[in-house]
Amino acid sequence: MAHAVEIRDLHKSFGDLEVLKGVDFTVDEGQVVCVIGPSGSGKSTLLRCVNLLEQPTKGKVTVGGVELTDPDVDIDAARRRLGMVFQSFNLFPHLTVLQNVMIAQRRVLKRGKNEAERIARDNLDKVGVGAKCDAFPPQLSGGQQQRVAIARALAMDPELMLFDEPTSALDPELVGDVLSVMRDLARDGMTMLVVTHEMSFAREVADRVVFMDGGVIVEEGPPDQVIGAPQHARTRTFLKRVLDPTHAEDDVSAGQDGAAADSPPAR
């Protein structure tokens, strides 16, 4: 059977800067794959190449058997099958919560008003913000906004959900609500590709973890292996930083990236 997502030799450059240097991996239907890695390693770029918010320089992206990188593909139609959740929510501030979840259903899927509203309310209830239908996004907490954003994507009945650090912009006490929605989604069998720094979430929910650094996949496998017993020094260094940030400086020798990130002790 075909993979839900298949990425082959994916390259992406911004001008002279090569951000993705040949990425290969697959996600099977119903799988949750978490992508981890240091800042600037190309995780967001990878995700954005999957739904073609960025045009890959080279390589193939296939979702549900349709090659998105084929120049003749109807990209708007293809994107309808993928939901994306952004770090900064990106709700439409001029529309109410309900309208946020309805507008693409109405304009893209051409659903009738009643049907769209029913589906919107169902999804908002599912993520626990059903009571906020008539509020405008800026009146909501970050955690609520992100859950509305998830409902907005789900209302389009996607085959695959992409999450780009969905909890990174949230206050710590709001992270749990969003993660539990994502956990439920995974349990219901949604295929998910999640960029995250939440290691405990990755360990618990992911079927596979992909560690990226410098535009390539360094290591991938089951979470217990990649997070629990990493094979590569770069993975170990990264995990040490994430899991124990106060002792990050101990590893300056471990990689060039680290040396650049830590400012000199002068001043």
Binding site: D76, R80, M84, F86, I103, V108, A149, M156
Partner: protein, 283 residues
């Protein structure tokens, strides 16, 4: 601590200001303000004595002349001013939106056309554009601006305002965060659908205050319709005031017309300010 030393100083022995100077800062300030008032009063008295009040009143505030201006100053002149302005504003906004979208287009020739248009018509005096319209039939024989006199006036104001609106709207469109388009596209919306449903509605909200100011300046520019040689039922405020001032050999109609402009422009300017602060707070 700092507070204590501050309050302690004035409480100390009088005249013991820091630096050994004779006057405390507060006293200096009081004297300075006193001097300013004296100068103001002197100026007012001088103007009051030197002005020929009688002559001024005769020329600028003659009641029977002022009476002649009513009700036509409102029913004809102001009405026409508003027709010209609103017409120019509506068509200018549509043209400006089109130009702004062309300016941001990925098709290079569209960008060029928009840039050339915007640069030319923002750079020319509005009066020159009206003169151009006046001479248009000479250049293009048989050509007639649809809508007659109203059409000509509205066309002139449309040409002017579309160039300014284009730049305002472009700024507004660019002020909508890129994530908004990305969210819309990731939901499967086409580029134009994302523009119509997500970006343009937000851009319009952003540009409402500057646009209100543009409406005010368009209202003032509508006075240039005077140069189209309009008459009778088509006159707007400035032409109306000018004509009545000529026939009565008196400047009072100018004053009446001026006050009529202010009746509209001041509230609108105030409104624009309110909208601006409201938006600043909403951010």
């Amino acid at each position: 601590m700092a507070d204590q030393s501050m309050t302690a100083e004035p409480a100390g022995p009088a005249g013991r200001a820091p630096g050994g100077s004779r006057l405390s800062p507060r006293k200096k300030q009081r004297i300075s303000r006193g001097v300013q008032y004296v100068i103001l009063i002197a100026a007012v008295v001088a103007v009051a004595f030197l002005t020929n009040w009688q002559g001024l009143a005769q020329n600028f505030a003659k009641m029977d002349v002022a009476r002649q201006a009513f009700p036509d100053v409102f029913t004809v002149a102001l009405r026409n001013t508003i027709i010209y302005t609103v017409g120019g504003f509506v068509f200018g906004s549509l043209g400006g939106l089109l130009l702004a979208l062309m300016r941001l287009s990925s098709v290079r020739p569209y960008r060029w056309i928009a840039i050339v248009y915007i640069e030319i018509f923002r750079g020319l005096p509005a009066l020159l554009i009206f003169l151009l319209i006046l001479f248009l039939p000479l250049a293009l024989p048989g050509f007639e601006v649809p809508g007659g006199t109203y059409g000509q006036g509205v066309l002139g104001l449309t040409i002017v305002s579309s160039a300014y609106m284009a730049e305002t709207l472009r700024a507004g469109l660019q002020a909508v965060p890129k994530g908004q388009t990305e969210a819309a596209r990731s939901l499967g919306m086409s580029h134009s659908r994302a523009m119509i449903s997500v970006v343009i509605p937000q851009a319009i909200r952003i540009v409402i205050p500057p646009t209100t100011n543009q409406f005010v300046s368009l209202l003032k520019d509508s006075s240039l319709v005077l140069f189209l040689g309009v008459s009778g039922e088509y006159v707007e405020l400035t032409k109306f005031g000018n004509d009545l001032a000529s026939t009565t050999s008196n400047a009072t109609p100018i004053l009446v017309v001026g006050l009529t402009y202010l009746l509209v422009t001041i509230p609108l300017g105030y409104l624009a300010g309110r909208l601006e602060t409201r938006q600043a707070k909403g951010r």
